[in-house]
Amino acid sequence: MRKGLKTINKYFSIFSKGVIKENPVFFTLLGMCPTLALTSSAENSVGLGIATMFVLTCSNIVISLLKNLIPSQVRLPCYIVIISGFVTFVGLMLKAFLPDLYDQLGIFLSLIAVNCVILSRAEVFASKNGVLASAFDGLGMGLGFTLALFIMGTIREILGTGTWFNIALPELSEPMTIFIYPAGGFFTLGFVIAAVNKFMKRRPHNISCDNCPHKGMCRRGEEE
């Protein structure tokens, strides 16, 4: 009984660490390309997030099944082949059932194949752990990725176009168009990461003043 509880706890912690503690976008800064390029609307970001989550979970499962068969010298090409197989599958499914979303995502759908979140999870986790753990890891990381994209997309769509999931919101002021431009993506990402760090009480690493060009000019440099 206790052993069963322990196992559930273990899998839950694997699942939850991807969502919050090691969120791929906010803490490890992986998958920046879709995060900045595709989050101009909440609908797009959730669509891409779910597609990535599906591919991540499936590829994690398959890679952890095959981890003893793949020779370590050629493991990256093997991972890419597995991942791109699932990406093709997702692409065809979207094209058949959600053609609008497929058109909106465009090239970024096929670019899931080289998304570093998926490759890093294959390399770091799935190639060293069991099938069930890898599946939970993929689900957790994918959910964290989707959540991050959803937050970015929500902020940018509300501020940039004054709508949310294409529903017009009561107009408080003129929408700030810069938020749907790439520059607004960078601004939003920076502020969201700052807020998350503040909320999680993460402190920046203590950087030494040795290499700073302003050493001796600022107060902290003089103290050191």
């Binding site: 002021s173 003129e174 700030m176 168009t177 810069i178 938020f179």
Partner: protein
């Protein structure tokens, strides 16, 4: 009593403090503000006060938020006034306040506050507002639009006038009797401030002259109206007050010259080849980003230091010695 004081360098201290310099910039901007109130009405003054006030408030709030020491100094007021000068006079106040937030919090304080920002806060705030609220930011009113006897309310800026339409004359351009952002039109008032800043040694003459000279020369070579290109748009305002900012421009004289010429070339390129009528703000922003590299290249040689021969010459010398 021991009268010998031993202390580490610097031994010569200037009496110029940051506060004094910023006050001088504010004084230098006063004639332009007066002219803009005369041309565009009392709303120009209100907009300036709103910008200056909200910049100071944002600065104090942010310093308190990150628990840094805060003392009221005129530098956020200078930023606010400069930002206000590049806004159209009809802009709603809340948009101006958003611009002040971008200038003070995003551009200045997030990078470490006064002296640490990599780009001019007013320039970036103007660009952000321009991209965000394009229609409000390009709503240009005619001069003296607040009087009853004026027929037309809106009119194009001189740089955006279509071919065949009436261009303002040289006198109007100098005095600022044409449409545009309210602080940038009156060239005479801006130049009075420029002379004041030069006399009080707040800025050096190099950057503005290089900037304006490059634009004039380029317009002359391209066969365009030189007076129009120099006297209209934000060129004088940008060259005198924004391209001479201490923390975002090169330190050495040759660096300042390179900075000015670069600004001029980018301004001309945007005016001639892009679909935007004006490019001073983008030019200053791009050169702000390049300032670090300009400083590296134009680092002055300390007195008495022999420069190392370049790779090319060193090789030649070795070959010569071999022959001997």
């Amino acid at each position: 009593m021991n009268k010998l004081i031993i202390e580490p360098s610097p031994h010569i201290r200037s009496k110029n403090t940051t506060d004094k310099i910023m006050m001088r910039v504010l004084i230098a901007l006063a004639p332009a503000l007066a002219m803009s109130v005369y041309i565009f009405g009392i709303r120009a003054l209100y907009l300036s006060i709103v910008c200056m006030g909200s910049c100071i408030i944002f600065e104090s709030l942010f310093r308190r938020f990150v628990r840094k020491d805060f003392s009221i100094d005129p530098s956020p007021a200078v930023t606010g006034l400069l930002l206000a000068f590049c806004l159209p006079v009809t802009l709603p106040y809340y948009i101006a306040i958003i611009g002040c937030f971008v200038a003070i919090v995003v551009v200045k304080q997030l990078f470490g506050g006064l002296g640490q920002n990599f780009a001019n806060p007013a320039v970036v705030a103007r660009i952000v507002l321009m991209l965000s609220f394009t229609s409000q930011m390009t709503y240009w009113v005619s001069p003296f639009w607040y009087r009853d006897d004026v027929d037309t309310i809106t009119s194009a800026t001189p740089l955006a006038v279509e071919a065949g339409e009436q261009l303002p004359g040289l006198w109007d351009l100098l005095m600022g009797f044409h449409s545009g952002s309210f602080g940038e039109t009156s060239i005479i008032a801006l130049l009075i401030g420029f002379v004041f800043l030069l006399m009080t040694r707040v800025i050096r003459v190099v950057t503005p002259v290089a900037f304006v000279g490059t634009v004039a020369l380029g317009a002359f070579i391209a066969g365009e109206n030189v007076g129009l290109h120099v006297l209209s748009g934000g060129l004088i305002l940008g060259a005198v007050y924004m391209a001479t900012d201490y923390s975002t421009t090169p330190v050495s004289m040759s660096g300042k010259f390179v900075f000015g010429v670069g600004c001029g070339i980018i301004t001309l390129a945007i005016r001639f080849f892009s679909d935007m009528p004006e490019g001073v703000s983008y030019a200053i922003l791009i050169m702000n980003i390049l300032t670090y590299y300009i400083d590296k290249i134009t680092f002055p040689r300390p007195f008495g230091m022999v420069r190392e021969p370049s790779v090319f010459f060193r090789k030649k010398k070795e070959e010569e010695t071999k022959d001997v």
